[in-house]
Amino acid sequence: MTGSALEIRNVSKAFPVGRGRSVQAVEDISFTVEPNSICVLLGPSGCGKSTVLRMMAGLETPTAGEVAIGGRVVEGPGRDRGMVFQAYTSFDWLSVRRNVEFGMKINGVGPAERRDRADAFINLVGLSKFADAYPSQLSGGMRQRVAIARTLANDPEVLLMDEPFGALDAETRWLMQEMMVGVAEKTNTTMVIVTHDLEEAIFLADKIVFLSSHPGRVKEEIVPEFKNGARIAEKETVIGLDGYAELEARLMRLMREEGQHAG
């Protein structure tokens, strides 16, 4: 595959707020996501990063500009762009295995292949022992694992994640982050992850797109050079590398500047 997996071309989005007035959420955003890379959208709250992600998913329509995947312009949601939300989205009436099979089932994958793929991805996220459990019997972190396995088993070209670990406690969160590095290595999935967690951004990102707030614009694109393009599975190793502290401090300064704008 040549070129970018995803292209965001001069995208703007305004939301109507009644009486013919509207609020500009994001303005003239352009960036690209390379195939098999992890791109992190980072910025203070209110910078419109979730809006950008939702436009990639086709859940919102840009008021100007366009999003393209593999050269095709996005016109609505589709299975080529799987999405994982911050809120739990497990289908409570289905077992873990049937949750993971859901996408394949509605897309006409046969029962045998469905089961094999489901088992493989349940294993990938470490839930083999819980394949027959119902989501209500699982912890929050495990439910997010189900959502990730379900999306990946559906074989999307891009995995979009909207603050996927935001509702989890700190220890579960970094375990999930480490798991995502493993998932990216094993599946070569292109990922776009929205977060406001600096550590998470630096640990996961091959590229960070930093958005400024009100309206959201691309402030800077940052490649964590100190990782030398390697995917490192342990968080403490990354934090111990030369250059980590420097980058975190830089991102903190950016966050503070933007936070002050937002008041």
Partner: protein
């Protein structure tokens, strides 16, 4: 009595009461009720013709069932409730789910449905009698009108409460509109639909008794009106007890149905 081991006060402010205390309290309140009743009729405080003692009511109830064919009246009443309720559910479930899923459907039906909700169903009795005569039809129609509009509204509201993220997850997995409604929204809202049906079944019983009292020669309500003519208060009270018992029975049945159909809602980790 609760075991006196701990020092939990009997009237603890927002302190949960133990199993024992709950059981004793429940028995106590009913004992008190029947005690007052027995005492009032035994001492002649109330006219025994208007308020017969409870033991007489229960023996009459027994006699009604086993000597005077009251069972067939009860079966007729149950049949009316179930048939009318099934018809109402057959309309309300699909319509409510569609209205909760598609704002365009809601925009069309909601103004109609909410207007009907405020028309008291019993006010239709005269015109239902004129249209349908005196057979089963006017009774079923009254129950249907009394239940269907509330049921539609309840189901629509529950359907709207299905979280957007579930719908959007299905869309990004490649689901079309039909799959989202049938494969995600419907199963997500089904437990709440059963709860709504359980609530509305109680309302259906209310309308049934009204229909049978006003315009029927069969059923529990008709039996009670016949008894009134002969001042058989014990039979009227028996009817009330049977209606209450049936209501409770159906409620428990629906609760059991809920547990049976939706095992995943039980948290047993």
């Amino acid at each position: 009595m609760p075991s006196g081991r701990s020092s939990t006060p009997f009237f603890g402010l927002r302190k949960p009461v133990g199993r024992g205390q709950r059981l004793v309290s429940a028995v106590a309140v009913w004992t008190l009720f029947f005690g007052v009743w027995v005492l009032a009729s035994a001492t002649g405080m109330v006219n025994e013709l208007l308020v017969p003692p409870p033991q007489q009511v229960f023996s009459t109830c027994f006699e009604l069932f086993f000597a005077r064919g009251f069972g067939s009246d009860v079966l007729i009443s149950i049949g009316r409730v179930l048939i009318a309720f099934a018809m109402a559910a057959a309309v309300a479930v699909p319509l409510g789910v569609l209205m909760g899923s598609f704002p365009a459907v809601e925009a069309f039906f909601a103004p109609f449905v909410s207007a009907w909700r405020y028309l008291p169903a019993p006010s239709f009795i005269p015109v239902l009698l004129m249209w349908f005569g005196t057979g089963e039809a006017p009774k079923l129609a009254l129950l249907f009108i009394g239940v269907v509009f509330f049921l539609i509204t309840l189901i629509m509201d529950h359907t709207k409460n299905v979280r957007d993220e579930l719908v959007e997850t299905a869309l990004t997995l490649g689901a079309g509109r039909r799959t989202v409604v049938v494969g995600v929204i419907l199963p997500a809202v089904l437990p709440d639909i059963v709860v709504a049906m359980r609530q509305m079944l109680a309302v259906a019983w209310t309308y049934l008794v009204i229909a049978e009292i006003v315009a029927s020669t069969t059923g529990i309500g008709a039996m009670m009106m016949r008894a009134r003519r002969f001042l058989n208060t014990d039979e009227i009270l028996s009817g009330i007890i049977v209606i209450g018992a049936l209501g409770l029975l159906f409620d428990l049945l629906f609760a059991a149905l809920h547990r049976w159909f939706f095992p995943y809602l039980r948290k047993n980790r």
